[in-house]
Amino acid sequence: MTTVQTVVTVAVIALGTMLTRFAPFLVLRSRELPPWVAYLGKTLPCAVMGLLVVYCLKNVDLTSHPFGIPELASVAVVAALHVWKRSTLLSIAGGTALYMLLIRLV
């Protein structure tokens, strides 16, 4: 690609990304939110976090060694630490340390 084509490509990627971020706000710019959109606005935050977790783990292979053990064990430890102490930093540090250890050991 020439430099101009490179910059145009970056602009297209930026435009596409912005479309996905601004679309809900542009579509519903000045109107009162329809009740079903307001309902989605309340329920989607929990649902989309579940999607994000699955998205992070999508390439884990359960059928061959190490059978997803580092990922699943570390996720369980993050959740358990969080139930116990409710400290985001502790949960993340504990789970990540365990993960980095497990991928080197298992």
């Binding site: 706000f25 929990c46 989309v48 976090m49 579940g50 977790v53 993050v78 969080h82 985001t88």
Partner: protein
């Protein structure tokens, strides 16, 4: 006001700082390894600012010019942002002059921090959101440029540190679960995504999962709103 907001925003974004530091560095290394000049890394991190798309764009930028294909690819990879916008509609529409930047910078991680944050007393929510968003982008831009310029100087093994992002999301799911009596939306998100992952595979499951989640939520609207009215 801004001082207090910056301090609170920094505390809330420490997990993102860790994750972006390493993922941003790795991105910069990847870009310079692919032969891209460092100003291109800076340009992309400033104006695209979307982690997974930027990783995909490393090879896109080395391929023949194809703007239409690139646009379609971008929309597909980033379609999940639509959900963040819908979730933030009320809060961000009320954010006045901060709204455009808040919407521009709505990454997975910034969304996660802002949807789950405890905003301190005396700090307007839009100001807090602005600083979490700006700090997150600062971490990302700084790390990716550093990676592009000097990434090959890192010699210790950081494999697995990117798990901080997964851990951040898991801790937020757990917190949401503990804070809410209504678990059906979370279950719809997790189960719908897992089923679509099994059916469509890792590369193609996001769009079907989004459709399944919206349909499941709309199908459960009546019982969920009834339960909410009972608890109110």
């Amino acid at each position: 006001m801004h001082k207090k907001a910056i301090r609170a925003a920094f505390r809330s974004t420490i997990p993102v700082l860790t994750g972006y530091a390493f993922l941003g560095l790795a991105y910069g290394v990847l870009m310079s390894g692919a032969g891209h000049p460092f100003w291109l890394t800076l340009l992309v991190s400033l104006f695209v600012y979307a982690g997974s798309m930027q990783y995909a764009a490393v090879s896109v930028l080395a391929a023949p010019f194809n703007p239409v294909g690139v646009l379609v690819l971008t929309l597909m990879i980033n379609a999940r942002h639509l959900f963040y916008g819908v979730s933030m509609l009320r809060e961000y529409r009320a954010a006045g002059k901060y709204a455009p930047y808040l919407i521009f910078s709505l990454t997975d991680e910034t969304f996660s921090v802002n949807i789950s944050a405890c905003v301190p007393d005396g700090v307007p929510r839009p100001v807090f959101y602005f600083w979490t968003s700006a700090l997150d982008q600062l971490y990302w831009v700084a790390a990716s440029v550093l990676g592009a310029l000097a990434g090959n100087l890192i010699t210790f093994d950081t494999t697995g540190i990117d798990f901080v992002m997964t851990a951040l999301f898991v801790s937020i799911v757990t917190g949401q679960w503990l804070d809410s009596k209504e678990h059906r939306p979370a279950l719809a998100g997790i189960c719908g995504s897992l089923v679509c992952l099994a059916v469509f595979g890792a590369d193609d499951f996001i769009l079907p999962a989004m459709a399944v989640i919206v349909l499941a939520l709309l199908a459960m609207r009546r019982p969920i709103e009834r339960k909410e009215a009972e608890n109110a």
